[in-house]
Symmetry: D3
Subunit: 318 residues, 6 copies
């Protein structure tokens, strides 16, 4: 089976793919005819495709996020490759293919990521902090295994959020060693909690965010996580005005650093200052790394990266 990334003009091929997008469109001819404007994808990339003269049955059979077997031909359309679909059918259990093999996903398995997060959580020495973190993590438990970290900006794929957390924990471990005045428990807790409400802020399936939830729009994940800590403290009978509760809520509220970036308060404890830079460094470098991975080797520049002020990244020849 040929990977999307390897398909080139004039190739005839058969393979399993995911319908990432599908729209029914009409030709401008009279009478107008209907066709599918499709985006086919697998874990290696995606390609536009057309299927002409679709029937009513076709329209009731094929939908976005469905796995299909396709026989097609790669043509050049406006200098870019495009698939002409000759035959298509839905996959059956006998095909033995699973949707998770067709989507972009973190380079470490969800199980391993979750395991690491729990391990770090268990290593928090301050029991109160540990309990508060555990309560919040439990709220998103299952979703932490597959949610992306954002809609498009960074880590926008299967298990992207957990991957982001794990990588940040590595930076956090380093920086606590380098600067022992930082409280390692707070750094660990802050990293795990800072985006913990994202699975409630966004509606995602298979790592792809389709929309923000109502509470995501009306409250935002930062305020949501802050109230979860209140909930956790009440559940465990922890004083709401204790410095532990205050500190964790502050780290979460301040992690975007400036009001115009979404934080209602500026960082005012050492660990909140650290967290903002750990978060930024991981998010920005991941954007760069992912953009490079998806750029053909022969291109000198990646596509523009929105999270980097719409700049592209250049590959130096050293």
């Amino acid at each position: 089976m040929t990977l999307i990334k390897q398909l080139q003009a004039t190739d005839e091929f058969v393979g399993f793919y995911l319908i990432k997008e599908l729209e029914v469109k009409q030709t401008n001819s009279t009478p107008a005819k209907e066709y599918f404007d499709i985006v086919l994808s697998d874990a290696s990339g995606q390609l536009p495709a057309k299927m002409w003269d679709v029937s009513q049955t076709d329209k009731e059979t094929f939908f976005p996020m469905g796995l299909v077997k396709v026989q097609g031909l790669v043509q050049l359309y406006r200098e870019k490759p495009q698939v002409k679909i000759n035959r298509i059918r839905k996959v059956t259990p006998e095909d033995g293919v699973a949707i998770k093999d067709f989507i972009r996903s973190a380079p470490i398995s969800p199980a391993d990521l979750i395991h690491t997060i729990y391990q770090v959580m268990d290593s928090i020495t301050n029991e109160t902090i540990r309990k508060l973190v555990a309560f919040c993590v439990a709220k998103v438990d299952e979703k932490l295994q597959h949610y992306p970290a954002a809609k498009t900006h960074h880590h926008a794929y299967f298990a992207g959020l957990a991957y982001h957390i794990v990588r940040m924990l590595e930076i956090g471990e380093f920086i606590c060693k380098q600067r022992p005045f930082l409280n390692e428990d707070l750094i660990k807790a802050g990293i795990i909690l800072h985006d913990i409400a994202k699975p409630e802020e966004m509606i995602a399936q298979l790592g792809i965010v389709s929309d923000y939830s109502v509470s995501g729009k009306l409250l935002g994940h930062i305020s949501m996580a802050s109230t979860w800590i209140t909930e956790a403290a009440l559940h465990h009978g922890i004083d709401l005005s204790s410095d532990v509760v205050l500190g964790l809520q502050h780290i979460v509220l301040a992690h975007h650093n400036l009001p115009e970036w979404g934080s209602p308060v500026l960082p005012q404890i050492p660990e909140a200052v650290a967290l903002h830079y750990i978060d930024s460094m991981d998010a920005k470098l991941q954007m760069v790394e992912d953009a490079l991975a998806m750029t053909p080797e022969t291109d000198a520049w990646t596509p523009m990266i929105r999270g980097l002020e719409n700049k592209a990244i250049y590959k130096l020849n050293l």
Copy 2:
């Protein structure tokens, strides 16, 4: 007894006043002598004062926020009146004066303000909303009777917060009549709750804010109020993801309108849009009204008003 506002150069006077500020300073002579640099005040205004050659006993007797009886003389210093204190003593119970008569304060009594707030609260028809509001109000109960609404910007005096709420409730009542599509329960609740955490954000005595609290600095009153609603809902067994809880939290979070003004989310329900303008209109007009009240009749301009982009207000002659 002469009011501060009426004292003029060359007046000799005796009266009761509040020491609003007091600093021990030293003259530049050799050897240096100590004197008091004082601000005397009553409800009508304030004046700088000097008391020369203070003794150790003086320094152990007189402090800021203390009531005193003063015999003095008004002199002109750099074209402005200044009191030279000739005699001073602390008030005694026999003097029959109370500190509350010497401070700036809302034009309606705290008891009446609180009564109105409770009355409106009781008129909320949606029981869930009413319970959530009542819980939050109970948290600041006693403080609501005397807290100012801000450190300096607006309603910065005794019972200023309650006065701000009551005046906003009047505007809210009007606007709900004018535009019946607004939910009056939400408007009432939003007005009462929007600044409800200010007494925890600031440390104030007699209407004068001396500082922000630790939680005020690390969380801010907006986030604090939002978590109080969570607390209230948990206390009353109300679903945290219900639209009632969501709506109230949203109104509170959005009432500063823009991120750069401190709101982590923009208004996205009608009542949140309304609340921002009810709040702004009341705060700004109160600043203007208060600045005019404190400006001598013969001045054409008020002092500069920080909350109005540092502009002064002009008194037209119509």
Copy 3:
């Protein structure tokens, strides 16, 4: 006759409608054929429509802003309803339909709005103010009966400007009662004058702005209204440097509050501060109310509202 708002897919219908937009387009077939790309509307809403194979006569018969009788069929195109026009003709006097019944318009009749405005104008007790206002109102007299208040932001419909003024006068009346230090004459005059030059700034027909006028672009309605007051004063022999003239010009110039929002001076009299908030509150709440009215009942969110930082409004279920 079926209202636009009620038309659903597969409906066949006959009715009178307004051609709000009409473009002649060509199919991509060889040779290309011409068709009409139309927007049909009535007071309840609007729908896209296509009319295929149009003749030269058709092109000379049908134009934007014309009333037509249509026989058509509602189809689904890309999941949205679209009309296929089978027959169309221009309305004749016999049809007894008037264009004003097919356009969006303020909920109160222009006559009533104008009547209210004149009544308030006559109630201004300061004769000089009253004369200045009357002069400016006379300049736009007829246009005040039908002009919108803006191109798209708010009150963008027939008599929208007069409606905006009348609603603001209601708020103004309330706020003058609540805060008697405000000069009611200035509030009334300021409300009537603040946007009085808009009919000269914009070119509108039936409540729809097609463009800005040359003077609108080169001077802007704020500066225009200010010079009208000069004109009025000269006409009535009123001293140009009197506080009355100064005050009214200031209110008009300052009503956008900040330079970056178009005001060359910041509000510096109490009534100018009030006017800005009366104006904002009415404009923003009207945007919300109108957006809700045009949103299908089954939708939880309105479309995005440009004047509200591109946010949509959510309908809570309380």
Copy 4:
């Protein structure tokens, strides 16, 4: 007589000077004694001065903006020269000194400046434009002979406004020759009118602005000049909506280029674009030239210049 600029530490001197500032202060000794804290100036510069032990008569004799004869000694105070006044008296007619010789002033005589402005005004070929300009100039006639162009930013001295206009006219003449598509009449008129209302916006004496006028604060010189053009047109029976009136008002309104710099409209005719840059170039280069002139030759840097983003100017050694 020694110029201020030439006075050095230990000099004993006698001369005529202007008291630019004078404050009565008190020593910290007990009892406090009064002294004068003075700024002495002439056209070459200024120096701080002290006069100890002043009498009641002294306080009734000496005031800011008075000419005096001083016998004094230059001392070093905190490494800077300061005058100790030993004897002082007011000038008498017999002294034969005039205040205008003691103030900073444009390098060309007011009479010559005014002459040039009138000459250019008379050279405007379009009669309508010429009349409108003449009317506005007549309104400030006498003041144009001595007003500064700004309070502190640039040309802040005697006849600074006329000097600014004349220098801009030179640039305008050049640019009209270089780019003949520009309308020279509009350029001339725009230059003369752009700041024409400044003498009404500010209150100045001898080239020193003490404050802004009420109309200056409430309307600003840009809006004032625009209404003057209306007044001029009405006076001469010129159509208010003619392109001549529109064009001149537009140039005046747009000359600050951006809303945040005070212009309610952006430049939209060629001459308005040109005027903004003619104005900026002249103002900025004059700031630089004046700062250099007042910097001692041995200093490598001028003082910071507020109108140049608070930067100082460096003198290169080429």
Copy 5:
């Protein structure tokens, strides 16, 4: 031969033109057919054109920036003129046409522009400055004859950069006469050097910029020019820390005036202040002049001009 600018609907014509843009597109018919979507241009303007049913040979024959002879018909498409190409062939040497006659270009010949620039360069009296300038000019020598000054903002045509320099030199000469405190050598050198690295920053052919170079993106023309001066100084053995080198580098680095406009330092020598305004005035007025030249006489407004905050320019009727 008919100029593009003169072609009108229904004209049949034959002439030589430049293919400025060419895209191969497909009709929506089944099977799809290919056609050319073309922009034809000459020095007077440009027009969209379609050529239907193109062959494989056509696709291998015609490309952007090629000269062609066309026989065509002007049709109206959506109310705008569009060419239907009936016959087309590439030009041959016999046709005697040269590409430079078909492109937009400065109104003065490159040879004359270069001659002026060299003449001014030779008139620089300070030998060190002259050498540094000459070195940098030599680096772009040939390119200076044809490069535009920018991609779209201003002087975006053949020899636009040299034309920009020459016109600035005229302003520079004037301003040095008007304000003799300016160092004329620095003004001349600054003007010639300020954009000297643009030919390395951009990739252009025939006055049309297709892209920025890698070094243009990674360093920017301002930093590049600054390092060229270093290179020049090292080449000529001039002290890198001398005020001459420092001054020239500063002028180049500061010429965009503010960091947010691309200058890492603010102007801090008189000539740097002057240069910014000479540059701005020339660029902005050229935008206006060019926009007017390309606007049909019957239009009252030019198209929107990006470099003027997206405003259009109005043509007054005086």
Copy 6:
């Protein structure tokens, strides 16, 4: 000998200290007497001091940055400790004290810091990069041993720059291990070079910056470092347009990330993105760590930190 940090009110003491600041002032008595207003410091902190009745000899003996032996008394002045100097003399060689023991300084010795920097430099595998870095480091060689990294923002002490580099190298080493797609040579080189021109930008002695140099003001350290790389490449015969030169210049130019923060280009290679965050993280956390170190243990808040948006840091009690 008592450390500054340990001195308390009423202490009489003798010790060696550094005169960090010294001003000759005059009392307000008549005749005025001169006294020293001094700041005494050692590595533990600083205290204000007064020395009354100073003689001409005193004024010729004591200066800022001089070491002295002091016998004094700690008094309370306005609630803060202040030294009254009874006896003072300059240190002599016999005293055996060295100025470096009295100043704030990096916690690692300059020799060790320099050794680490050279070691890392030598470990750069790409010879061209290594040569370029070595050339630039050689230019500031001696100064790298003692220069601070900034005037006040961060690392503003002896050897602060070298310490900043070394700590960043630690982070760089970690991040290259975590993300192997980063080029470690470029990261090392970028860290060493990013602030390498700071010793030429600022004038510092003993870790205290007194001013910026002329070239520092006119060019800025970012542009200076970029031209140094040009110089280095020319010296070593390395192609100026090679990707190595381009890459290093880009990293230096882009390290402030945004134009408004001083970078003329945005980061466009992976290592430039990384460098900005490595730099920020180290600078911000060092500010926090240093502020905490200088805050008395009993204070809950540090002083305000300018580089952290003027926020103070809170010490949680966990």
